[in-house]
């Protein structure tokens, strides 16, 4: 049989201890599945969505309320996006707390960090596509951050917004980035990320002589577990999509300068809270960018887990990285909570 991409991703056997759900948390696999759900539901949404300021809200309302099961499709897209954000963060934590990013997986780790950035951008552009009162403030606040960049600020702003204020050009840009530019990047990076897993020797495990449990599971068992996880994830998505609809607000009234919603989307709440500290460039641009750079540098500057420790939770070798990501996580959670309460 000719090897296929499926066979590339599913070797004949893989080590059993590291294939357990309580080790992987299924986060990588669920992320792949949610990405597929997002692609399918996103394509369906594109048949209805009209990327103009007048058309956006109305087309979303048409899809949500009038197209048979259109609301379900939109809600699935929304919940898959929220779920993806959570699952990639869980995946990142799992990789760091198991030390799995050690060479030869450093490059794939970097691809993962890039994927995280792309997913955050996809979430924000998708959020803005609603183009209703609920996103108006976050769009203005978010794009205004670009202006604070020294020297390049105004050009960056015009590049992103397409004029001196948000309007039709902004919407069409965000739309193009969301459905084409960023999605293409996501797909290419994700396939590369998946491809590299096998190239880097599959999931991180100790060398054969140091493994305590030599058992392995078959390709069939791996696929069965993935299938089960996908079925459960689908059920949860359908429940969420059915009973907790994605947010919608009234159309933007340009004559009304006051907006009702002045809270960033949940994944940017921590940045919103940071902005209260002072310089928007420092706290709103430099610090988040710096955090991403630090995240990317973890395998290069901090001690790594020893080979014998691989494939287990919380190895001793990379405790500093584990502590750092924990502090980062708690900091972001705390800032988000403060912004949410405020």
């Amino acid at each position: 049989m000719r090897p296929s991409f499926y066979h590339h991703l599913h070797p004949p056997t893989i080590p059993s201890p590291q294939a357990r759900f309580r080790y992987t948390l299924g986060a990588g696999g669920i992320s792949v599945y949610l990405t597929l759900v997002l692609l399918v539901t996103g394509i369906l949404e594109m048949y209805y969505y009209v990327p103009t300021p007048e058309g956006a809200t109305h087309s979303i309302q048409t899809l949500t309320f009038l197209v048979p099961y259109g609301g379900l499709v939109r809600n699935l897209h929304y919940w898959a996006a929220q779920g993806l954000m959570v699952s990639v963060l869980v995946h990142l934590l799992r990789v760091i707390w198991t030390g799995g990013y050690a060479p030869p997986r450093r490059f794939n780790y970097l691809l993962g960090v890039l994927l995280l950035v792309v997913i955050v951008l996809l979430d924000f552009t998708g959020y803005v596509l609603r183009w209703d009162e609920g996103v108006r403030w976050a769009l203005v606040a978010g794009t205004n951050l670009l202006k604070t960049v020294p020297l390049l600020g105004n050009d960056l702003y015009i590049l992103a917004v397409g004029g001196d204020q948000t309007g039709p050009a902004t919407l069409v840009r965000f739309y193009a980035w969301h459905v084409f530019g960023l999605t293409l990047l996501l797909v290419v990076l994700a396939i590369w990320h998946l491809f590299r897993i096998r190239r880097d020797g599959g999931i991180a495990v100790p060398p054969p002589e140091l493994r305590r449990d030599p058992r392995r599971i078959t390709r069939f068992e791996l696929a069965r577990r993935e299938g089960t996880a996908a079925i459960v994830a689908s059920g949860v998505l359908i429940l969420l999509a059915t009973f907790i609809p994605a947010p919608l607000a009234q159309s933007i009234d340009p004559s009304n300068l006051a907006t009702t919603e002045t809270q960033a989307p949940w994944f940017f709440l921590w940045v919103q809270q940071l902005l209260k500290l002072g310089s928007p460039f420092l706290w709103g641009v430099l610090l988040p960018l710096g955090l991403i750079v630090i995240l990317g540098l973890i395998p290069y500057i901090l001690p790594l887990a020893r080979p014998a420790e691989l494939g287990t939770w919380f190895p001793q070798g990379n405790r500093s990285a584990q502590a750092m990501i924990l502090i980062l996580l708690l900091g972001i959670l705390l800032l988000s909570l403060l912004a949410w309460l405020g």
Binding site: T57, H58, Q61, T62, T64, F65, L66, P68, Y69, G71, L72, R224, G227, T228, I231, V232, S234, G235, V236, I238, L239, A241, T242, F243, P245, L248, A249, Q250, S251, D253
Partner: protein
């Protein structure tokens, strides 16, 4: 036990439990989807944009003959999210909540150059005129109070409920503008008490509690008949047939206690108009208690003439002689020749009278047609109640036995002889 174990293993292997869970969620999603209201589309001819309000609001009666829902739909007046089948979202951008005619939004809801503002003809600029009227500005009461408490040197109005300017002054008493009355800037406790207790009867004010004062705000204060009704009930009706009871949701409701500066609502429940409604000292003639207020008082008087005035006296000009003339002169009349004549339009909108070209109607001293009247062949006149549809006939003073001094023709002189005894 071996059997049970192998069944358990089989279930795990085939992922049967997750599959059943997924199936259940799909069934649940389908069931939930079918519980949504059935979408009922409406494509109003004036907007040509589909709206789905009727999915929930089919039971509402049409608001008026002049606003058929097939032409207007709902959103043109009410705003709102026309495509939403979810009540909260659908109602979020509605103008004025349940009342789009509230003066804060009436310009958008009822106005517009095709509707009740922006017309070259002053008599059709209703919303703009109402905004300048003393019923909306309450300028007279505010000026009076501020003058009485020494906050301003004369009775000329300077402040209204809201700030407003008038670029086109057309009458000698017209004011160029009013500032917003700001009680927090007033030092006199009397004025502050007035602001606290007595601002209940202008067109933007929430009504006092109770059935007798039950009314909406803005245009609907008069045009939606609420008198004696519970405002919590949906009210979807606009009318030109406004009976005196609607006027009485503000007027004749009680007295202001000027010492304590608060409103003392009357405690009785007036039933008999002749004996109960008016103040004990008031003098009035038969037509004032048999006709409805709007049978005599014109749109300029009630809805403003487009100028800002200092008090209601400056805008009230209909007198007995408007209909009855004087000993020397017959009342003013106009014979309808123009098919666009306002009188024809009004009698079309409220067909209590079948006016046609060639009919002669009474007109006021400012040229407003009293379109519910007509001169008859024998020289007498007929009047139809705008709300009641009832027909009355009356004669001019000229040629009658009246011996009134021709220099004293204001209503109060007529009351000397013609007032009704109670």
């Amino acid at each position: 036990m071996v059997g049970l174990n192998s069944i358990a293993t089989g279930l795990r292997r085939t992922a049967l439990i997750p599959a059943v869970f997924l199936l259940l969620t799909i069934i649940l999603a389908g069931w939930h989807n079918n519980r949504r209201p059935r979408a009922i589309a409406l494509l109003p001819s004036l907007t040509n944009q589909p709206e789905y309000c009727l999915s929930c609001h089919q039971d509402l009666p049409e608001i008026s003959r002049s606003h058929p829902f097939q032409a207007f739909g709902c959103v043109l007046c009410h705003g709102g999210e026309r495509l939403s089948l979810e009540a909260d979202l659908a109602h979020r951008s509605m103008r004025g909540g349940r009342n789009p005619s509230d003066l804060t939004v009436a310009q958008d809801s009822c106005g517009g150059s095709n509707c009740h503002t922006g017309e070259a003809a002053q008599e059709r600029n209703h919303v703009q005129r109402v905004l300048t009227s003393v019923q909306a500005t309450y300028a007279g009461a505010i000026a009076n109070l501020r003058y009485s408490f020494g906050a301003q040197p004369d009775l000329t109005a300077r402040m209204g409920i809201f700030a407003i300017r008038d670029e086109h002054i057309q009458t000698p008493t017209g004011l160029p503008g009013l500032e917003a009355f700001a009680p927090e800037n007033e030092t006199n406790p009397g004025i502050q008490a007035f602001a606290q207790n007595c601002l209940n009867c202008h067109l933007s004010a929430e009504p006092l509690p109770g059935e007798e004062t039950s009314r909406l705000t803005g245009c609907a204060a008069c045009h939606s008949l609420t008198a004696g009704d519970d405002l919590d009930q949906p009210l979807h009706s606009l009318t030109l047939k406004i009976p005196y009871t609607q006027c009485n949701t503000c007027h004749n409701r009680g007295n202001y206690d000027l010492r304590n500066m608060h409103f003392v609502p009357r405690s009785d429940k007036p039933q008999d108009r002749l004996h109960d409604y008016y103040q004990p000292i008031a003098q009035f003639v038969r037509c004032e208690w048999t006709l409805d207020c709007i049978d005599c008082h014109t749109r300029y008087e009630i809805m403003g003439d487009g100028d800002l005035h200092s008090n209601q006296r400056e805008i009230r000009y209909i007198q007995c002689r408007t209909c009855h003339g004087t000993l020397d002169e017959l009342p003013l009349t106009r014979t309808i020749t123009d098919p666009e004549d306002l009188a024809l339009r009004m009698s079309f909108l409220n067909p209590v009278i079948d006016l046609g070209g060639g009919d002669t109607v009474l007109v006021s001293s400012r040229g407003e047609p009293l379109w519910n009247t007509r001169r008859l062949a024998d020289g007498s006149y007929e009047l139809f109640g705008k709300a009641s549809g009832q027909r009355f006939t009356f004669r001019a003073v000229k040629g009658s036995a009246c011996q009134q001094n021709t220099a004293e023709q204001e209503s109060r002189y007529c009351h000397e002889c013609h007032a009704v005894e109670r």
